[in-house]
């Protein structure tokens, strides 16, 4: 028996040798899994990276099965989704896995991004990991937006109508550009067909490629950890970090707990609450697209609502408030800020430009700019954050207060975006919009003041 097993082992080795001479299988396995060192103190927040990959796979797998029965045709699309829900065996399950999966993908990605912010994973040397991640976030938004048109429900139709009309505000080329994207004067069969092509081919390819780049960049610089310190500062005699453990099997096995726990939540929603009270599947989208009947409130799905709120908050009064804020910042910079004269002049030109621009553009045009800026802000984070420490465990109080304010504002914006606007709600959205941008604009300041705690030289870990 033992001899037999030994033979098997030997032949397996011979096979791997044959492969390795032609393809770097063992090398890649070792570099990226068996010998890729990760800190041993990964906590709850570190589940969301692997979960994001899980969701990408789930969405692609369920998406493939949906395309087998879905008809990208304005006359047939809505009925084909109902056909999947009723006549295709377990079609309802595949469809709910995909529709709930879209929302859960965003839940996971938002938490993954938040993890980056609180532990300083965006800081040097991981700036490119963060930037590629931000591009993934934008690509994911495009993917979700186009996917939402496909059921051809009334909210699909009007949501796409509203969002695409935003391109109208681009000077000179806006209306022509919108028409070019739609392929028609209104959202129509042409739009549905091209969105289908983008949703099932172009964007998934882009997403998979970006995720690959995200991982390549990560493995070049190594993973961060909840203490935000460099585990390569403490090496053992073999040159391996003392606080590091191989990604395979340790982290992989640990991530399985995260996967199981996440599946309980995800499948719990799929089986017991698939429309999630009208948040994951909107009521108005169970009626077919009707160009003659606008739904009472056109609201995008929840993962867009913080940005949608910022768009809607842009009224003349908000622009006026922004001018005043720009003016105050401008004066403060000349009087107090410790930057060179050159930088001061350059920033003054920018400030003057912003103030004049705010007077020229309409509320809607600036709303689109603000919405885009709200997303661009995330890209700048590695350079806005000046704190000497990375992890929230050792950050100063001003940072913690700012982060809590930002979180609250972000959630309120998200909530307001799901509701019809009233004057009071618009005012609240404007206040939250100012907090949102202040968080990024003031970050260089509040991350460089206050007392930080000393970072430990070894990661905080207690064996269980």
């Amino acid at each position: 028996m033992a001899i037999h097993r030994h033979d098997n082992h030997k032949s397996a080795n011979a096979f791997m040798e044959w492969v390795d001479q032609r393809f770097p299988a063992t090398k890649v396995w070792n570099e990226h899994l068996a010998e890729y060192m990760a800190a041993k103190n990964f906590n709850f927040w570190y589940f969301f990276g692997s979960l994001a990959i899980l969701m990408l796979v789930v969405q692609i797998a369920t998406g493939i099965f949906l395309t087998m029965h879905y008809k990208p045709d304005a006359e047939l699309a809505f009925a084909s989704v109902e056909y999947i829900m009723r006549d295709v065996p377990f079609g309802w399950l595949v469809r709910y896995l995909h529709s709930t999966g879209a929302s859960m993908f965003f839940v996971v990605v938002y938490l993954h991004m938040f993890r980056g912010v609180i532990y300083g994973s965006h800081r040097e040397p991981r700036e490119l990991v963060w930037l590629i991640g931000c591009v993934i976030f934008v690509a994911l938004m495009a993917e979700a937006f186009m996917g939402y048109l496909l059921p051809w429900g009334n909210m699909s139709y009007w949501g796409a109508q509203v969002i695409l009309s935003l391109f109208d505000v681009i000077p000179f080329v806006g209306p022509a550009l919108t028409e070019w994207i739609r392929g028609d004067f209104v959202i129509s069969d042409a739009t549905l067909n091209r969105f289908f092509a983008f949703h099932v081919i172009l964007l998934p390819l882009i997403l998979v490629a970006l995720v690959f780049l995200h991982l390549v960049a990560l493995h070049q610089v190594g993973s961060n950890n909840p203490d935000g310190i460099d585990i390569y500062e403490n090496l053992d005699e073999d040159g391996k970090p003392v606080d590091g453990i191989p990604f395979f099997p340790y982290i992989v096995i640990k991530d399985l707990i995260g996967v199981a726990g996440f599946l309980i939540v995800y499948l719990g929603i799929v089986f017991f609450w698939p429309d999630f009270g009208g948040i994951f599947l909107e009521k108005d989208n169970f009626a077919p697209a009707n160009p003659l009947q606008t739904p009472p409130d056109i609201v995008p799905l929840w993962y867009f609502t913080p940005f949608y709120s910022i768009l809607r908050a842009s009224t003349t009064s908000l622009l006026f408030a922004l001018q005043i804020i720009t003016g105050i910042v401008f004066i403060w910079m000349w009087l107090r800020a410790k930057v060179s004269i050159k930088a001061k002049v350059a920033l003054s030109v920018v400030a003057a430009g912003v103030m004049v621009g705010l007077m020229l553009g309409s509320g809607k045009a600036w709303g689109v700019v603000l919405m885009a800026a709200a997303i661009v802000c995330f890209f700048l984070l590695p350079w806005l954050d000046r704190s000497p420490v990375y992890s929230i465990r050792y950050r100063s109080m001003p940072f913690k207060i700012a982060l809590v304010l930002f979180l609250v504002a972000f959630f309120i914006l998200g909530y307001l975006g799901m509701n019809a606007p009233t004057p009071a709600k618009t005012l609240l959205a404007q206040v939250c919009t100012v907090i949102y941008f202040a968080f990024f604009a003031l970050m260089p300041w509040f991350t460089s003041i206050g007392q930080t705690k000393p970072e430990p030289s070894r990661v905080t870990y207690e064996a269980h």
Binding site: K40, F44, A79, E82, Y83, M85, R86, D87, W92, L93, F114, I118, I245, P249, Y250, I253, K254, L256, I257, V259, A260, G261, L263, I264, L267, G268, V270, F271, F272, P274, D275, F276, G277, G278, I279, E282, K283, D284, F286, A287, P296, W302, I392, R393, K400, L403, V404, L407, V408, F411, G414, Y415, M418, N419, A463, H464
Partner: protein
Amino acid sequence: MKKLSLLLVTLLSASVFASSAFAAGGHGAAVDEVHMNMSDKASLQNGAKIFVSYCLSCHSAEYSRYNRVAEDLEIPLWLLKENLMFTTEKEGDLMKTTMPAEDAKEWFGVTPPDLSLVARVRNPDWIYTYLRAFYLDESSPSGWNNSLFENVAMPHAMYELQGVQRVVGKVDEASQEVDSHGKPIAKEGQTIVGDTIFELQHSGKQSPAEFDKSMADLTAFLTYMGEPAQLKRKTIGVFTIAFLILLMLLCIVLKAEYWRDVH
């Protein structure tokens, strides 16, 4: 850090609660709560019978198939063919009305909407209230009106069951007597549907209580038809979640075993 996680959970649950309450509540019309039991096959069967007898003559359920309804509701095929299939001979057909859409538009002003998904677009409480809120109104083209959906084109399809009712007035919240659940109590000989008080002018085949039960059955059937999979979805879900909990426990044990040498 723990405080931050706590804040995140609080914010998340607060916004989900607030938004789902908003999404479910719709636009603030006063509706009555319907009591349905989706596992009560007799109730669903009765709803199906009322649907094909009273609704299907004008409305379609064009995504729903006769034999699927029979299978899900445990109706024998011969019974289905004899008592429920008036529009077609083939049991695998979709439940389409025989009324031509153009004629319907001419007669009612609008084509009667498809009802396959009505319970998902509206909500069960709304449907239950709407079905019981028709009243006589000589000024409207059809002679009928509805207190929940003013000036709706649809006439009262089920007056032979309910009878003919007239509006007495709106519920006045200040002076209205309410029961222990805060629901207004109707006076003798009157009924309250949504926020409107009605009086029965001619009684129908059913008493008000029987008619309410019939409409609850019909609402349950429409809710079933909105998503036929819901009858087995939750059963599969219980087994899936039970399996996942077991899987998670195994993963925890497995991780502890693998991590024994990490100090």
